[in-house]
Every structure is written in structure tokens, then in C-alpha cells.
Amino acid sequence: MNAALLTFDFVLLAGLLGVAWRCLASTDLFRAVVLFITFGLLLAIAWVRLEAPDIALAEAAIGAGITGALLLVTLERLKHIMNRPRTDTDHDPAPPPDPVASDADAPGAAPTGDAASRAADAGNAALSCAPAPARGRWITLVVTVGLAGLLMATLATQEHDPGLQPTVAEHMDVSGVDHGITAVLLNFRSWDTLLELAMVLLAGLGAWSLGRHDALPARPTPGPVLPGAVRLLLPVAIVTGVYLLWAGSHAPGGAFQAGAVLGAAGILVSLARPHELPDPDPRLLRIGVTAGALLFLAIGLWGLFAGPALLTWPSELAYPLILIIETGATLSIALTLVALFIGGRSPREDT
């Protein structure tokens, strides 16, 4: 049995390395992205082998799912941009024409002058790219293989420190929840989680600062199948999201997985019905994406004034407070992920 599992481990690791290699060596971006999503799913299996079902859930939902969707929509945008005749002076990020209206695959117009030579270097087709140049191949190889060797040698010398598992187990009874990872994320190391929410928000703000959103370069398939499937899947996704949120207190799950599932549902809706998306008030949207972190900080301030320190709360109130914080975090994360998928800020924000 042990030998069988060991073989499985080796095959999985070889598969991961092989897929990663093929992904990074690819000259076709679409293929690279598909391989990357495969890589994410294989990673989720590896996390299960490492007794980390929470991380496997998160990897499948966030690492492979959301990242994959973002990558694919980026490819679609790039294809659209590069097939559009452009002038060198459009510094203003004007939204490209609606892709549904100009569905014909126009041949890529060659950029002029200096840009042309660079673009020729990069390969003309929108979704292909030049293979790595031969120059410098050996140096890079030696450096990276050397780095891998050093890292492995270092890891081989390490002793097995039990880490903080005993300490966490000792304090579980006052954490307010029954699941170790949730206890760490929302009680013992809640500062990390608060800053992580800030990081998600900041990614959204950064994307918004780059320009207004364009018409989503999605081409809805004609016919009733996709909208029908969305109608079927949307309630299930919402139930799953809420379930994951609630389950986080005692079993694998939690705010980030739930937020990713709800975000994925939102992305699905925006793919199926890109022309019927609601255009929410930008003020509401801004408050929505910051609400999770603001709520978290506001609850944390209690500890600052009542003592002993920021983000402290009485252990008998820990469970309800953690649930409130997680709910806010889930909603903000889901909203931010959908906003990142749609792209830039709402044009109504600038008026």
C-alpha cells in the first residue's frame, strides 16, 4: 500500500512538473492557459495528499477556477485589442468596440513604425508568442537548476519541527470555532486575514484605476442552453457558497472558498447575459467591495479600546463575531472577483 501511494506521489509530482514545463514552454497562449488550469487541478490533488482539504478546495475554486476565468477573459481581450486597427496616438484608454457587433475576425492590422518591428519580434498572431531565444539558455538553466539543488539540499537537512500545531490545539477551546484553520485565520492570526482582505480590495482598486470597463469580450452562445444552465446552477452555487461559509467553523470551508464560489456564480451570469448585467450605483459598489474589511476593522477596534489589543474579542462572543466577519468578507470578495472579471471601473464613477 505504501509503495502504491509513493508511486502515486511520484507520478503526481512528475505530472505537475511536466504540465508546468509544457505550460511555460508553450508558444500558444491559449494552450498555456489551459495547461495552467490543469496544473491548478493537479495541485488540488497534491494538497489532498498533504492532508490539506481546505487548501485543495481553495486551490480548485480560486487558484484554478477564478484565475483560469481571469486568464481566459484576458486572452479574449488581448485578441480583441490586437485585431483592432489602431493608431499610435490613442493614449486615452477608449473602450474597444463591442465585440459582438464586430464579430468577423478581422485580420490583424500591422502596427506602424517602431511598434511594428517590436510586434514582429513578438509574433504577429494575437495569441501566439515567440519561443524563448536560444541566447542565454545555458546560463538560465545552470542558475535555476543550481537554485533547485540548493533548496533541496537545505530541505534535506531540516529536522521535523512540530510547528505550531500543539500550540493551536491547546488554545482551540477559546477560539470560538472547532476547525483549526478557521481558528488561525479568524482568531489567532486575524491580522493576516484582515490585510489579505485589504489586498483583494487593492487589486480591485488597482484595476479600476487603470480605466473604465469595456463591453465584456464574451460571445454568448446563441440558444437557450447556457442561460438555462445558469438558471439551474445559480441557486445551487448560492446554496453551496452559504454552506461553505457556515461549514468553515467546524469543517473544511470558510470565507475565501465561499467568496470564490459566489464570485464564480457572478462571473457565470456575466458570461451568459453580458448585455443584461445590472449597472449598480458606483457608490454602492465602492461600499460593497470595502465592507468586508471595514466591518472587520470596526469589530477589531473594540479590542483596541477595551483591551488588551487590536482585534481582540471576548471568547464567548467569538463565534457570532467570526460569523459576521466571514459573511462580510465573503460578500466583498465575491463582489471584487466579479469586478476584476468585468475589468475597469464603472463609467458612472467619473461623472
Partner: protein, 115 residues
């Protein structure tokens, strides 16, 4: 020897290899999408080291290292989302999504303001 190769010992080596592989891709490839993928693969390598450390030995897995990995994944996806938005923005301005080495416009005397 075989007995000592529990997943917690084996997988960190894989993580180190993934980190180096990602670095190789980041240095060698010029297209921004591939570079972003390379950074993500490097990140996965780091997470594999973390989770391997969490699973080492016979004790139950270390929840702190697992929680750190979860945080790391969310931070990575945020950074990736912003990097992709920046890539699209760059492509809109220049028509290509490649970072080429060599002098930029700033190093020449001509500047967009002069036109």
C-alpha cells in the same frame, strides 16, 4: 529509506523544483501572460513547501502553515488579477503584450509631449 519518504518530506522537494521551474520561465519568456503564469507557478512551489512542512511527521497537519497557504493563494490571485489588468492596459496602449529588453522611449530624446 522508502518508509521515511512520507508526503511531507517528498513534496517540498517538488515545491523547490516548481519554484526553480517558474523562475526559469519568468527569465526566459517575454510574453506577459507567460510571465504571470511563471510567477504563479513559483508561488505554487512556495505553497507546496509550506504544506509539506505542515504535513511532516506523524502528528496531525499544522493548521498554521495551512492557513498561511490559504492566505498566500488569495494574495497570489489578487496580484495576478491586477497584473492581468495591467497587461490589457499595456496592450491597449502599445498593441502588444510583451516586455522587450533594451532602451525604452524614456531613454531617447523624443517624448510623446514633443509631438
Amino acid at each position: 529509506m522508502i518508509e521515511s519518504l512520507d508526503p511531507g518530506t517528498l513534496y517540498p522537494f517538488g515545491g523547490a523544483a516548481l519554484f526553480a521551474l517558474g523562475l526559469h520561465g519568468l527569465i526566459r519568456r517575454r510574453h506577459l501572460i507567460l510571465r504571470i503564469l511563471a510567477v504563479n507557478i513559483m508561488g505554487s512551489g512556495v505553497f507546496m513547501v509550506f504544506l509539506g512542512i505542515a504535513a511532516r511527521g506523524n502528528a496531525p497537519p499544522d493548521p498554521v502553515a495551512q492557513a498561511l497557504t490559504l492566505t498566500g493563494i488569495v494574495v497570489a490571485v489578487s496580484a495576478t488579477a491586477f497584473a492581468l489588468a495591467l497587461t490589457v492596459h499595456l496592450a491597449r496602449l502599445t498593441g502588444y503584450a510583451v516586455l522587450l529588453p533594451g532602451p525604452l522611449q524614456t531613454h531617447r530624446d523624443s517624448h510623446p509631449d514633443d509631438r
